[in-house]
């Protein structure tokens, strides 16, 4: 479903040029749960941004679900994100002073969905992440783990094909992290959502069925596990 071919990404120009990705080839099948690991600065987030259509490669091609992303406009990429992709960030990135339910509804607002339908889907998503009853809480009234669950609910509310999570447990303690991992695993199994996750912790990566090691903008190791 995802296919990167010889993708490079460089930042800056001349002497200040940084090569974040140096000719990356990557294929990810639908329904997989992929963990990306690697040293700081090895290009993990850069890859995630490109996969998430938030950024474009400097060269190379990206094919997503049969669509060639390479030359797409800003708005076309926004529509792809809206329809096929869900994001979970390290810093949760919820809208402050906005209730959990409204945060979860947000992607549907941009789809122009009717209010009652929107609410119904958002409630279902809240239920799926185990936050039933916290709908009217604002982020500041929720713990870190709960905030990340709201973020996951927001990511899955529009039924995406792929969930992209860049260090989703980076700001959480170990117990909370395992909760989130189990949730992602469940979503991957029950709904068939492809999950691509960046993590620094080996025991979080263990939840995935494929672990990719990055080093200096390359894939250093690609470990496919048997079904767990």
């Amino acid at each position: 479903m995802i296919s990167l071919r010889n993708v490079t990404r460089t930042y800056g120009e001349g002497d200040a040029e940084v090569r974040a990705l140096a000719g990356l080839d990557l294929d990810i099948a639908a329904g997989s749960f992929v963990a990306i690991m690697g040293a700081s600065g090895s290009g993990k987030s850069t890859t995630m941004n490109i996969l998430g259509c938030l950024d474009t490669a400097s060269s190379g091609t990206y094919n997503f679900n049969g669509i060639d992303i390479t030359g797409l406009s800003r708005d076309a990429r926004a529509l792809l994100r809206r329809n096929y992709l869900g994001f979970v960030f390290q810093g949760f990135n919820l809208l402050a002073r906005t209730t959990a339910l409204e945060n979860v509804e947000l992607p549907l607002v941009y789809r122009g969905m009717a209010r009652n339908l929107r609410e119904e889907k958002a409630l279902a998503a809240m239920q799926a992440v185990g936050l039933h009853g916290r709908e009217s809480h604002t982020p500041s009234e929720l713990s870190g783990g709960q905030q990340q669950r709201v973020a996951i609910a927001r990511a899955i509310v529009s039924d995406p094909l792929v969930l992209l999570a860049d260090e989703p447990t980076g700001n959480l303690d170990s117990e909370r992290s395992h909760d989130i991992m189990r949730l992602l695993q469940k979503l991957n199994k029950d709904r068939g959502i492809t999950v691509i996750m960046v993590t620094h912790e080996a025991d979080m990566a263990d939840y995935a069925n494929r672990i990719i090691q990055f080093a200096d903008g390359h894939i250093a190791n690609d470990l496919q596990k048997g079904r767990t």
């Binding site: 938030l54 708005d75 926004a78 994001f87 919820l94 529009s158």
Partner: protein
């Protein structure tokens, strides 16, 4: 989507109430100024035209003297004679009434009270020419005028100061040294455009006035009322021509009298207030411009403050145009709120002014619509640049903000 943007906009205004109000001050003041000025201006115009129409409709006033250079001044000028009036009566077409008058201030006494009033000698045509109505009794008759009877008609001010508790009809009041019997009470006209009380008046037959009060046969003033507004100009011309002849004014000499069109005076006066309104309106426009720049400033601040929020919205699939709409709507809502406050404040000020200046309160819905339209436009124009900045943000950089 628009509705969602509207709700978001209201929410962000509510979150920063004080900041929003301070930002809006320019617009509030600008709109309030426009509303107050236009309302006060049209109230003043209404007052002027109603004052002038109270003088009589399609009125021309013929006076001795002329403001022109080299002409004899008002007091030394030759007054009119019966002959002049007769010539006008025979020669001027399309007029309803030609009323020769003479007047003088005199002391009016009833019982033990006295007051100072304007005493006018005239014939019945006077009441027609100046549009006077009667609330009691009526005019003196033609035979009263011919016989110079001791009768008079009084204004409401005289009634309230001298005869408050009696039926004025049939009472005898003393005008100067002359007793005369009240046959009618005039309907009130209130203050004139020049600030005098038009109801403080005693009107008696011209000949009675000339003999008993003035002691001469002078006619100081002729009121002429044309049949229609269009007849005013031709009446003015023929009056001038006839009087030049009867008063033997040489072809190249200046007239020693003036024929003034009261509607013209009204037009001049309202033109002046319109000019004032226009000038002050320009000041208000500058204030609106400053207000618009204030809006732009606060929207730029808001976009910077909410960079991360914009990043989140873009990441989860907002189009650039949707972000643009959100911030434009926010600016417009802010400005409309300013417009609303401005309209309220403006009407408040106009209400106060109309109370203290004794002019009618004349709110104009057109101006309100315009004020709102203009406020919204300011929001669109000055909100566009910040909103475009927001829409152009790069999602990754925006998410990394702070």
């Amino acid at each position: 989507m628009l509705w969602e943007s509207f709700k978001l906009a209201l929410r962000s205004v509510r979150r920063n109430v004080l900041r929003s109000i301070l930002t809006l001050l320019g617009i509030v003041i600008g709109v309030a100024a426009v509303i107050a000025l236009v309302t006060i201006g049209s109230g003043a115009n209404e007052k002027i035209s109603s004052d002038i129409s109270k003088l009589g409709s399609n009125m021309l006033i013929v006076r001795p003297g002329n403001q022109g250079p080299g002409a004899p001044g008002g007091n030394e000028a030759r007054s009119f004679t019966e002959r002049d009036v007769e010539a006008l009566r025979n020669g001027v077409a399309l007029v309803r009434a030609i009323a020769p008058t003479a007047s003088k201030q005199a002391i009016i006494v009833y019982d033990a009270t006295s007051t100072d009033a304007s005493v006018t000698g005239a014939d019945q045509a006077f009441f027609v020419a100046q549009d006077w109505s009667f609330i009691q009794g009526g005019s003196f008759t033609e035979s009263d005028v011919r016989a110079a009877s001791n009768v008079c008609v009084i204004g409401t001010t005289i009634v309230s100061t001298l005869l408050p508790n009696v039926d004025p009809l049939g009472q005898t009041i003393r005008v100067g040294a002359m007793p005369c019997s009240v046959v009618g009470v005039l309907g009130s006209k209130g203050q004139s455009a020049f600030g005098t009380d038009q109801d403080n008046i005693v009107v008696m037959p011209l000949r009675t006035f000339q003999r008993r009060i003035a002691g001469n046969t002078k006619i100081s003033n002729i009121s002429v009322s044309a049949n229609s507004p269009t007849a005013v100009k031709s009446a003015q011309d023929s009056i001038t021509a006839i009087l030049r002849e009867t008063r033997h004014i040489g072809e190249n000499d200046q007239e020693d009298f003036s024929v003034r069109d009261m509607t013209q005076i009204a037009a001049t006066m309202s033109a002046t207030t319109t000019l004032m309104t226009g000038l002050l309106g320009a000041v208000a426009a500058v204030s609106l411009l400053v207000g618009g720049i204030g809006i732009m400033n606060i929207m730029l601040v808001s976009v910077t403050e909410r960079t991360r929020e914009i990043g989140i919205r873009l990441a989860i699939g907002a189009l650039a145009s949707q972000v643009l709409t959100q911030f434009l709507v926010e600016a417009v809502v802010l400005c409309l709120l300013g417009g609303f406050l401005g309209v309220c404040l403006g009407f408040g000020l106009a209400g106060l002014a109309s109370f203290f200046l004794a002019i009618p309160f004349a709110p104009d819905p057109k101006v309100v619509v315009m004020a709102f339209g203009f406020s919204g436009l300011i929001g669109l124009v000055f909100g566009f640049f910040p909103a475009r900045n927001a829409a152009r943000l790069d999602p990754i950089e925006a998410l990394r903000h702070e």
